[in-house]
């Protein structure tokens, strides 16, 4: 069991959206969804337990395994050179490792699972889902611009084998091969395999995030299980 000083606790940019959900009742300061999320944070930090589904799923696995492939696809499409950032950054509010830190912007890479999920990415929804995450990254890197980039790259063979393992019990090789193609995208024009959405830094919004973090820290300090 760990003892945590919650008054200085720093949040990962990807978790900030969980803090920004407004409560239903005006008399409340923190929403029920935020409370449920903060309970997970508490259990992870104090007891060292994290739900396996939050880390071990195929979408995240592909994202990790193919991040460099996605960066290379972006390089070819934009004609620029990027390298994956491995340095963890921290300030008074956040701790995180942005995917790519370019000269004038920070880039967050999302590797889509397949053609259907890539095609289903909607600009308005994506900008809403990831706004606070990229805002926190801009704050960490002190940049005014950010890009959220969705890339569609082929799935590693190990993962395709995982996907095809059960179907192979009731399919012959020819049919199985046809479906393996659902995970390979090298035949599709590279430009149509990248979606780029841009964001601007907002001082006003970062202040709103900071005030929510203060409330979250107070709530974390009050949790007892």
């Amino acid at each position: 069991m760990n003892t945590i000083n919650w008054s200085t606790y720093k949040f990962h940019p990807s978790s900030v959206k969980n803090l920004m959900i407004e409560p239903r009742l005006k008399s409340e300061t923190i929403s029920e969804t935020t409370k449920a999320y903060l309970l997970e944070v508490y259990i992870e930090e104090v007891y060292g337990r994290r739900k396996i589904e939050s880390v071990a799923n195929k979408f995240m696995r592909k994202g990790t395994m193919c991040e460099t492939d996605s960066i290379e696809l972006l390089e070819r499409v934009k004609g620029e050179t990027f390298f994956k950032n491995n340095n963890q950054l921290t300030n008074a509010w956040f701790v995180g490792t942005p995917d790519v830190i370019a000269i004038d912007k920070v880039i967050d890479i999302k590797t889509s699972w397949d053609l259907w999920t890539f095609a289903g990415v909607d600009e308005d929804q994506a900008k809403k889902d990831y706004y606070y995450q990229v805002l926190a990254y801009m704050d960490l890197t002190k940049t005014q611009k950010a890009e959220l980039v969705y890339c569609l790259v082929s799935t590693p063979p190990e993962m395709i084998n995982d996907e095809m393992y059960r179907p192979s019990f009731y399919m012959d090789e020819v049919e199985s091969e046809k479906y393996r193609n659902n995970y390979k995208f090298d035949d599709i024009d590279e430009k149509s395999r990248v979606k780029i959405y841009t964001f601007d830094y907002s001082e006003e919004d970062i202040e709103r995030v900071e005030s929510k973090i203060v409330l979250a820290r107070e709530y974390l300090a009050s949790i007892k299980i």
């Binding site: 990790t64 460099t68 492939d69 050179t81 390298f83 994956k84 950032n85 190990e158 995982d162």
Partner: protein, 283 residues
């Protein structure tokens, strides 16, 4: 430029180790065999050279041919390492050579061929079907009889064998590799290997074959069972990242271009490559 396996084995210390293990007479033919094996297999060609040499050396010291088509021993690329795998014919060969066996054999078992099973003695009575090829395979049985009269068989169902493959092989778990491509050979090997491990008199060679099977040979008598390890997304990601930076260094046409990757040199290998290229530019 990447070093070839022949160049690696020509390095004085490496060659000296081969000569020490095999003797001067066998060294040149060994090098030729390894080169021939690698030249026909791109995945092996790109493997870590030491692991490839040591896997082949293990097969040769056991006096088993490394020609994959013969089925005595296999050298297989797994990630970036060469892995040694015994074939069931290899285990039979080693058992016969010990001079202690009257018979050793393995066969598949079709549905309806098991007549009775004595759980206490482990004895199974079979009634072999005549037109058996049409029947479904339900298991595999290995049998041995020693010259001193000791007899033993080991039977496993197809389901048990699949479970064994999935337990000990990450590639089998994912539905590819030898367990998927040649289940008959892997199942035959498993029952023979377990029969020998449990009941046979252990010779030095059989013991070595048991230990080296499915391992990357890290050093003499040091084995790493890589296929038994999970495929970690982080490791794969790191490998791709390093490869990307190496390519950037190699393709850089100016110092400025080269220096773009300077703050991302996360390994000593990358740092060395960077320094080497920088030196080239400054000359």
């Amino acid at each position: 430029m990447t070093q070839s396996i022949v160049e690696y084995m020509a390095e004085p210390q490496v060659r000296e180790n081969i000569v020490k293990t095999l003797g001067a007479n066998k060294t040149n033919s060994f090098i030729a065999n390894v080169a021939s094996l690698a030249s026909g297999n791109e995945a092996l060609m790109n493997c870590d050279k030491k692991s490839l040499m040591l896997a082949c050396l293990t097969a040769t010291t056991l006096d088993l041919p490394i020609n994959q088509n013969l089925g005595f021993a296999y050298i297989i690329a797994y990630k970036d390492k060469a892995q040694f795998q015994m074939g069931y014919k290899g285990f039979i060969q080693l058992a016969q050579r010990s001079g202690k066996f009257k018979t050793i054999n393995v066969t598949d078992v079709k549905e309806g061929e098991i007549k009775s099973l004595d759980r206490l003695t482990g004895d199974i009575a079979f009634e072999w079907a005549e037109d058996r090829l049409k029947l479904q395979t339900v298991g595999y049985v290995a049998y041995m009889e020693l010259l001193n009269g000791f007899k033993k068989s080991l039977y496993m169902t197809v389901k048990e064998l699949e479970g064994h493959g999935n337990k000990y092989s990450q590639t089998a778990k994912r539905g590819f590799g030898l367990w998927k491509d040649d289940f008959d050979a892997m199942a035959s090997k498993t029952v023979i290997k377990l029969l020998l491990a449990r009941y046979a008199p252990m010779t030095v060679d059989i013991q070595k074959a048991q230990l080296a099977d499915q391992a990357v040979i890290v050093d003499e008598d040091q084995y790493e069972y890589v296929d038994n390890k999970p495929i970690l997304a982080g490791e794969i990601a790191q490998g791709k990242e390093v490869a990307k930076i190496i390519k950037h260094i190699e393709d850089s046409k100016t110092i400025e271009e080269l220096q773009m990757c300077e703050e991302f040199l996360t390994t000593p290998e990358l740092q060395d490559k960077f320094n080497e290229k920088l030196k080239e530019f400054k000359q």
